[in-house]
Symmetry: C2
Subunit: 414 residues, 2 copies
């Protein structure tokens, strides 16, 4: 009589078992390629909560129990900063490789985590932190020439992209589109970080650590939400040959300039077709423009990407931790603006005069519309600073009661 | 007095020093990150040929001289099958890792090369073989879940994409656009493989080895050239809301279906915006659609990608050689067709009757045009086989002297 012991290739300690964690457990349970990855234990707050069919894994509320199993890899899916930060640092200092999808943690404590990983010569992977379903971060981490970008541009928040896409296509206001997103599982119960731009700004900071070699504070990224983008703005954007999208932009050719928020995107721009919950990243390099596009979120896409990170660690092909980064602030990038005017408008000439007195020059404008005693018109300006636009805007609103919306505009790419 | 010896991190033996090889030498000569990669010797046919400024590297015409240096990596940039195949196999059997950009070699002898790499436990990388400037092949080689695609779609030949883009935008005929491409350095002196579709078919075979796990003979890929796409076709395509692009398509959900050639691409399709010498690849996976886009060729993009492959080898993070593939033939995929009719046309009803008698059903059609005693019209059909279309086409041409063009049509993606 013989007892056959089948050993897993690697044993995973799981931190957190919410939507992504549960999906990860299900994916690993149904793996068909023989002995593979095995979850030894999951650290959770409430072991008694039902997490859906097929999520059969030992739970614990005690970190030491998890570490006592001596896992080969720690997968961190807690979200937020604490206790995630402490647990990841502890794991790295015990030389346990860590895979995480936590962009908040990386945006705020990336320096400390990378330091710990480098000091202990152990991999720290986070492919799912940005464009969760599209593998590209690890690729560039191991390819120095490809990684030599000087600017990036992207759509990295699926919830706000879905909301703006629905508003533009279905004529919904943001609140209604958000309710749709929540019903379809595309938005968190508390979507404030998505709608307010913080999630996109965090991802931008992670991308800047990765591609610009700079450590940028979240507070220095110009961040805007999409909550006040109304039907008027979508209609004027369409008339001007584009759409309003939730973008991130950064350029570090010289000083760093970084922005996260809604922008007018012309129809010929590669990001114009990125709709719904899709995400995309455009990298500008000396050797051309690279575009990566695909699902930006969702438990299944995220869990699969996390598992692939674990495979890289186990196969010993993960990129080495990078050298330290330069701290950097961000300056504003001057762009064109979509200015939406609504109310009792003065003549086009008077508007142009007033704006040019503020050094704002009109590049293109829509027809002037009127209905029910209301008038509205959209203008696309040549590049100028937010400060300049804000001053003119306040001046117009104070003097005339006209409502003035201002949304950054991306240039058509050649 | 002390002599300081600075050792390179890795020493490269170069096979071939044409456009890409010369660019590679220049890039490595100007590297600024301290001791890095060093080319010990380049195997060339004619050492006396001038290869441009800054291409200073010892040349040889004798393979044994190159191997006597005991290079850490062999970079193969000869192109074509022999002697490239023999040299790569020799290098692998001496356990020297190989980096190549040679899609012809991989499409025709991929099996033998991968076998040799696996047998000797040595990396064989070829990131530059498809979408030369966009790193993605190595990424998927090390990420099993992401690599689980069931279909792909792409534009992988820059020359033919440039030619069709110029024809559509500038109203040029293919020969004139090709002359432009050659003048701009976007086309080889002998562009027959690009224009005839063979280059795209070779890349498709490499992609199928990679993503479908199948070994497909080049001869079983339905391959068409772009040489007979005329202004008439571009005009009708535009009127039907799309453009004609040089695509590859493959689906292996069940039987493999593979095609390389011109196709009607609707304006809403992600490939519609891929213009000029840009290339793109769309992967269909259970977790969504991934798009990779960027420069598809050019000495600088190709050389940089090859160097990054060498970095992966040297850093020990290259993906392991994959297990063996399944030999597979390819069946035809039924698609819609853009049918371009020109000549003295019968009534629309007669055309529809004739086609439906051949089980071809019209989905949409352009206006009927006439000028200078000529008439023309475009039809988009529902899916049917090439054989079916060919039969109807020959019937019409034989009976009526009408000229009938037929170009595959891609579906709009949702």
């Amino acid at each position: 009589m013989s007892t056959e012991v089948v050993l897993a290739r690697a044993r995973i300690g799981l931190l957190g078992c919410g939507n992504v964690g549960s999906e990860l457990v299900r994916l690993l349970t149904h793996q068909t390629n023989g002995p593979g990855l095995q979850i030894t234990r999951a650290l959770v707050r409430d072991p008694s909560r039902f997490r859906g069919e097929g999520v059969d894994v030992p739970f614990t509320t005690v970190t030491e129990d998890l570490l006592a199993d001596r896992p080969d890899v720690i997968v961190e899916l807690l979200g937020g900063c604490e206790p995630a930060r402490q647990l990841v640092v502890d794991a790295l200092s015990r030389r346990i490789p860590v895979v995480t999808a936590n962009k908040s943690l990386l945006a705020r404590h990336g320096r400390e985590l990378r330091e710990a990983a480098r000091r202990h010569h152990v991999p720290l992977l986070y492919e799912a932190a940005v464009l969760a379903g599209v593998p590209f971060l690890g690729t560039f981490a191991r390819r120095p020439l490809a990684a030599g970008a000087h600017a990036l541009l992207g759509i990295v928040n699926g919830t706000s992209n879905f909301v703006l896409t629905q508003c533009a296509r279905q004529g919904l206001e943001p609140q209604a589109a958000l309710a749709d997103a929540q019903r379809l599982g595309y938005a968190e119960p508390d979507p404030a970080n998505d709608i307010g731009g913080l999630d996109a700004a965090e991802k931008l900071v992670v991308l800047l650590q990765h591609f610009a070699g700079r450590e940028v504070a979240l507070s220095s990224v110009e961040t805007r939400g999409i909550g006040d983008i109304a039907q008027l703005h979508h209609a004027l954007a369409a008339e001007l040959g584009g759409a309003i999208k939730p973008v991130i932009t950064a350029d570090w050719t010289a000083d760093l300039r970084a922005f996260a928020g809604p922008a007018f995107v012309p129809a010929s721009h590669p990001l114009h077709g990125v709709a719904g919950v899709d995400n995309a990243l455009l990298l500008e390099t000396a050797r051309g423009r690279l575009l990566f596009q695909g699902p930006g979120a969702g438990p299944l896409a995220t869990a699969a990407t996390v598992i692939d990170d674990v495979h890289e660690v186990v196969d010993g092909v993960a990129a080495r931790p990078r050298s330290s980064l330069t701290p950097a602030g961000s300056r504003e990038q001057k762009t064109g603006w979509l200015i939406a005017l609504a109310g009792r408008l003065p003549s086009s000439l008077e508007i142009a005069d007033y704006l040019s007195a503020h050094a704002i020059y009109i590049r293109r404008s829509t027809e002037r519309h009127s209905a029910d005693g209301r008038e509205w018109q959209g203008l696309l300006t040549w590049p100028c600073a937010r400060e300049t636009v804000a001053r003119a805007r306040h001046g117009i609103e104070a003097a005339s009661g006209i409502s003035v919306g201002a949304i950054r505009a991306l240039e058509t790419l050649r």
